[in-house]
């Protein structure tokens, strides 16, 4: 059953990509991609529920469906569905119908590579899957072919490839340290590494982990390796920004979390966690500084992603059941919320024809409905109640207070308050400053519907944390802490 679901999850985008290439028709490609996204989403939900029954291995142990992976896949599938709905409306506005089939083929492939990251059981294959996400998404970032988007794509591929080569070095060194325990040839699955970890050389394990952390941290967008992120997120078409932010970053974070479980079982001391927490704080700090003085509306959202990845890194860095639960819940909430924010930003940018906050005025008067949705999203993304991110940030901060990271919690609190003020100040300017004469083009229902679809669950998740989800996340935290499998 789980095998069939996994196959559905992966095959749907693969078939859609193939279909796009065969038919080369914008309208057909749209529907193929949307269909694939719905099928993947429909498969991801039961897959997540089934994964609670214990990890399942396929294809000679190269593929695994475990709770952690399935959860990240679910976050990815949600964003993929929302972004596919949105893309139908948004990409038509670009007026490049003859190239759209290529866009949708890459879009579906991008989703496929993200799902592939999530289910890889071999540390080497995981590295390759992450590398493939970069290669596919580079062309999506540069899709609009403006000088800015090509520049962003170039920076993206160079910085991320260089960063991720550090992760390859870390992977090789992990394999080497494992080879003293397991012999020269073994399959480098997460479980094998974890069982062998207590007998590995602690210094080598620490060095390998730090390399892996910096490598995958580049892909996650942790400061100071985040420099590609604002460019890529702001210059790609809005549905791709949502995918990058809501799906890709989580898939890269997954690698860090899996390695973190390995070094935990190696017992190499507090250095690894402290480093992760330090990266989290650095990301929050960079996010804060650039959010306060930001003029690009999508760059604002991009720096907010840096900030939230910092918060998630803090959650996993603090550790303990609460830290992991909070971080995982934050992944889901952030995926929903950041999609909403990028959709709103894309709509407003397209209608008013500018991407600078300084020239966007009178948003509320022009767009009463989607303006309200976007504003609610902005309140949510700064971590204010009654939305989901408030709950998850609270849990993460609580997790930090119980252990030796209290200093990080206080810094985070201050930075979150500054972000709240800075972020909403930009919205005050866009919503309430007197408007200049601008002509606004209308946007289609395709572009507004996904905003509803992300805001409503976000509100529900903020008012009510379902028991099923809490239990599921607790079980993941238990597995990660090594208490049982």
């Amino acid at each position: 059953m789980a095998g069939a679901l996994l196959l559905t999850l992966m095959l749907a985008p693969a078939v859609a990509a193939l279909g796009c290439i065969v038919f080369r028709q914008a309208r057909i490609a749209e529907w193929l991609n949307l269909g694939a996204a719905s099928v993947s989403f429909a498969a991801a939900i039961p897959l997540t529920m089934l994964s609670a029954g214990g990890p399942r291995h396929y294809w000679a142990n190269y593929i695994v469906v475990d709770m952690l992976g399935a959860w990240v896949a679910l976050c990815g599938a949600i964003v993929y569905l929302l972004a596919s709905i949105y893309a139908v409306g948004y990409m038509r506005l670009l007026g490049e119908d003859e190239k759209l089939w290529g866009f949708y083929a890459l879009f579906a492939l991008f989703a496929l590579t993200i799902f592939a990251c999530v289910v890889m059981n071999d540390a080497g294959l995981y590295w390759i899957a992450v590398e493939l996400t970069t290669l596919v998404s580079t062309f999506l970032v540069g899709f609009e072919r403006a000088a800015e988007s090509i520049e962003a794509a170039w920076k993206y591929i160079i910085i991320v490839s260089a960063g991720i080569s550090l992760a390859l070095l870390g992977t090789v060194l992990f394999y080497w340290s494992g080879s003293f325990v397991l012999g020269p040839t073994y399959q480098m699955t997460w479980d094998v590494l974890r069982e062998a970890a207590p007998r590995m050389n602690p210094q080598l394990v620490t060095l390998s982990f730090l390399l892996v952390l910096v490598g995958y941290g580049t892909k996650v967008g942790l400061a100071p390796m985040h420099t590609w992120l604002p460019d890529a997120h702001s210059e790609s078409p809005a549905p791709i920004s949502a995918m990058l932010s809501g799906a890709l970053l989580n898939a890269a974070m997954l690698g860090i979390v899996r390695y973190l479980a390995i070094v935990d079982s190696a017992g190499v001391g507090p250095l690894t966690r402290t480093t992760l927490v330090a990266f989290g704080i650095a990301s929050l700090l960079v996010g804060t500084l650039f959010i306060v003085r930001q003029n690009g509306v999508k760059r604002l959202m991009a720096y907010s992603s840096v900030e939230h990845m910092g918060v998630i890194a803090l959650g996993f860095g603090f550790g303990g059941p609460l830290g992991v639960i909070g971080a995982l819940y934050h992944m889901l909430n952030h995926s929903l919320n950041k999609s909403l924010m990028f959709f709103g930003a894309g709509n407003i940018m397209r209608s008013l024809g500018s991407k600078d906050i300084s020239s966007l005025r009178g948003v509320w008067i022009r767009f009463p409905v989607q303006g309200a949705l976007w504003l609610a999203g902005a309140v949510a993304i700064t971590g204010a109640p009654p939305f989901g991110l408030f709950l998850s940030e609270l849990v993460i901060l609580r997790a930090g207070l119980t252990q030796s990271f209290a200093w990080a919690v206080y810094i985070t609190l201050v930075l979150l308050i500054v972000i709240f003020v800075g972020f909403l100040n930009h919205f005050r300017v866009m919503y309430f400053e007197p408007e200049e004469k601008q002509s606004a083009a209308p946007v289609s229902a395709w572009c507004v519907a996904p905003m509803w679809l992300s805001l409503i669950p976000l509100l529900i998740l903020g008012l009510w944390w379902p028991h099923a989800i809490w239990d599921h996340l607790t079980a993941i935290a238990r597995v990660l802490s090594g208490a049982g499998s």
Binding site: A147, W154, I157, L168, L169, S179, T185
Partner: protein
């Protein structure tokens, strides 16, 4: 473990090849002609292929012969050819605006090697490694990593950046042949193919750069800031 039971001839052969690749990395660092980078890179790849073959011979890993062949084919022939084609199309023959003069870059690179040596010895000590080859492999691996990053940082031409990335990967691949010859074949082959795709992607992107930005130097990529 391969590196604990080597006969002296094999050990010195491995060391020689590792050091030769490191020297070639310095050749790339010290030159400003793109042609030289390319030849040094191709030669380095051939040396790594030879290293794979000799590890296969002395260590008794027959599957490494395949890796040696694929390395020579992909890294030694196909990749240099792809890059040569891009180079010819671009009509750029040298680095014009490096941040660091090649001579200063060499000095910084040497400092990098010293740093890598310290780290490798530290790790080697803590593991009680008897064999000097493993420590040397680790040193070369880390040094080529640092030199690759240095090239990425001080060079502006798109092609130099690609070659910088390839030096990063070559360093890892070289170290991996000596340290973990038993790494599963599947992974190594996939990584080789992956590299090919990366360079193909770079090729396409460079065309876009030329068409839409009008330059292949990262000096001109400064629209996106803040």
């Amino acid at each position: 473990m391969l590196t604990t039971q080597l006969d002296p001839l094999a050990a010195s052969l491995f060391s020689l090849m590792a050091i030769a690749s490191l020297v070639l990395a310095f050749v790339m660092l010290g030159s400003r002609w793109l042609n030289n980078y390319l030849y040094a890179f191709a030669l380095e790849s051939w040396i790594i292929a030879a290293l794979s073959a000799s590890v296969a011979y002395y260590g008794g890993y027959p599957e490494l012969y395949l890796i040696a062949f694929l390395t020579a084919l992909f890294r030694g022939l196909v990749l240099p050819f792809l890059i040569w084609r891009i180079m010819r199309r671009l009509d750029v023959s040298r680095e014009l605006h490096e941040i660091l003069q090649p001579s200063s870059a060499l000095v910084v690179g040497a400092l990098g090697v010293v740093f890598a040596l310290v780290v490798a010895y530290h790790i080697g000590d803590s593991m009680g490694l008897a064999s000097r080859v493993a420590v040397l492999a680790l040193t070369v691996m880390l040094s080529m990593k640092l030199i690759g990053f240095l090239m990425l940082a001080v060079r502006r031409e798109a092609l130099s950046q690609i070659l910088g990335l390839l030096v990063l990967e070559n360093g890892i691949f070289l170290g991996a042949q000596i340290l973990i010859p038993g790494m599963p074949l599947l992974i190594e082959i996939v990584i080789l193919f992956d590299l090919l795709i990366i360079v193909a992607c770079f090729g396409v992107l460079i065309q876009y750069l030329v068409a839409n930005v009008g330059s292949t130097s990262s000096r001109d990529l400064k629209r996106l800031v803040g």
